[in-house]
């Protein structure tokens, strides 16, 4: 499986539509403090189905929607789409290219889509079951996971190991 592109709109500080292409093997993300780098990482976790707002550094999931500045009012929805090639039939589906999308409306309603077709969160997460990806997989190696290994709080080393085993 190979990532192709990430589309972010209305998610956290990304009020306006933003696209990131993943044409290379090793992609660097740089920028000043507070510019939005970790928000991009959060967007990827979120579209893969992360349900714990704490893992996304939020008090509640609705805080994922752009909350406005004094020059621009807050957004009505947050939407993230992740598109990838299903190389080597990595995922158990006949599609070659897959786009998963997640939308959260200010009203609290959620939508999930697989190649443009509405589906349930369950359909997205079951697609990734057992692939080493999934919103709390060790594939997302944020600084926090290094700390989890070091302090081993709540037997976190064991849990990480069980996910990989």
């Amino acid at each position: 499986m190979r990532l192709i592109r990430l589309d972010i709109k209305g998610f956290k500080s990304f009020a306006t539509e933003t696209v990131i292409h993943f044409d290379e093997d090793v992609i660097g993300i740089v920028g000043p403090n507070g510019s939005g780098k970790s928000n991009i990482v959060d967007a990827i976790r979120w579209v893969l189905g992360e349900q714990k707002s704490k893992e996304l550094r939020l008090d509640q999931m609705s805080n994922v929607i752009f909350n406005g500045t004094n020059k621009r009012k807050s957004g009505g929805l947050a939407q993230v789409s992740l598109t990838f090639e299903n190389t080597k039939n990595f995922l158990p589906t006949e599609y070659n290219t897959i786009t998963i999308s997640r939308i959260l409306y200010r009203s609290g309603e959620s939508e999930y889509q697989l190649n443009g077709v509405n589906c349930r969160l369950k359909d997205i997460t079951s697609l990734f079951l057992d692939t080493g990806i999934g919103s709390n997989s060790y594939a997302i190696i944020a600084l926090g996971m290094v700390e989890d290994i070091l302090n081993d709080k709540d037997n976190s080393r064991r849990k990480m190991f069980e996910q990989a085993a």
């Binding site: 621009r72 080393r157 990989a164």
Partner: protein
């Protein structure tokens, strides 16, 4: 279930030792052990580091950077157990010195033949090691924008890097 667990654990342990030695040196050693070997399904996991010439120590007795490097070795061991198609690192290189940053990026280069790596960083050496860079910035107050940086013209690379992270 128990025998499968033990088998995976033993595999992860060997990967861990292998990656640890490539991040530290061939003379450095380490170990991964179950604190309760007779209760494998519940046992917590202990990490032992034996840097060359020093006595064996638990991971908590190492320096800040040595701890991070050891934890990275364990993460890569889990990755080798079940390779994910992509991995994301968010500023894990912050506590590393220059030599260890080179090793970190070298091992990413090696695994990038099989998986994609997304590396968030403030470090210039890491920026020089990746294949492409996306610069993130605050376009207007409070709104993020992204711009891909093209390093095909290598002469401008360092100048570009200077201005990129501020």
């Amino acid at each position: 279930a128990t025998s499968q667990f033990i088998e995976s654990f033993e595999k992860a342990r060997l990967y861990f030792i292998e990656v640890f030695r490539s991040l530290f040196t061939e003379d450095d050693n380490c170990d991964l052990i179950l604190t309760q070997p007779d209760n494998p399904l519940e046992s917590s996991i202990e990490i032992i580091a034996k840097p060359k010439g020093k006595r064996p120590q638990t991971i908590n007795q190492l320096s800040g950077g040595e701890k991070t490097l050891t934890a990275i070795a364990l993460l890569f061991a889990l990755y080798l157990l079940k390779p994910a198609p992509f991995c994301i690192f968010d500023e894990v290189d912050a506590p590393l010195d220059d030599a260890n940053i080179f090793k970190f990026n070298k091992i990413i280069k090696k695994f990038s033949k099989d998986s994609q790596f997304i590396i968030v960083t403030h470090n210039k050496l890491t920026m020089a090691a990746v294949d492409t860079i996306y610069g993130v910035y605050m376009a207007e107050q409070g709104i993020s924008g992204v711009s891909q940086v093209d390093f095909r013209d290598f002469e401008t690379r360092d100048v570009g890097l200077q201005s990129l992270s501020s």
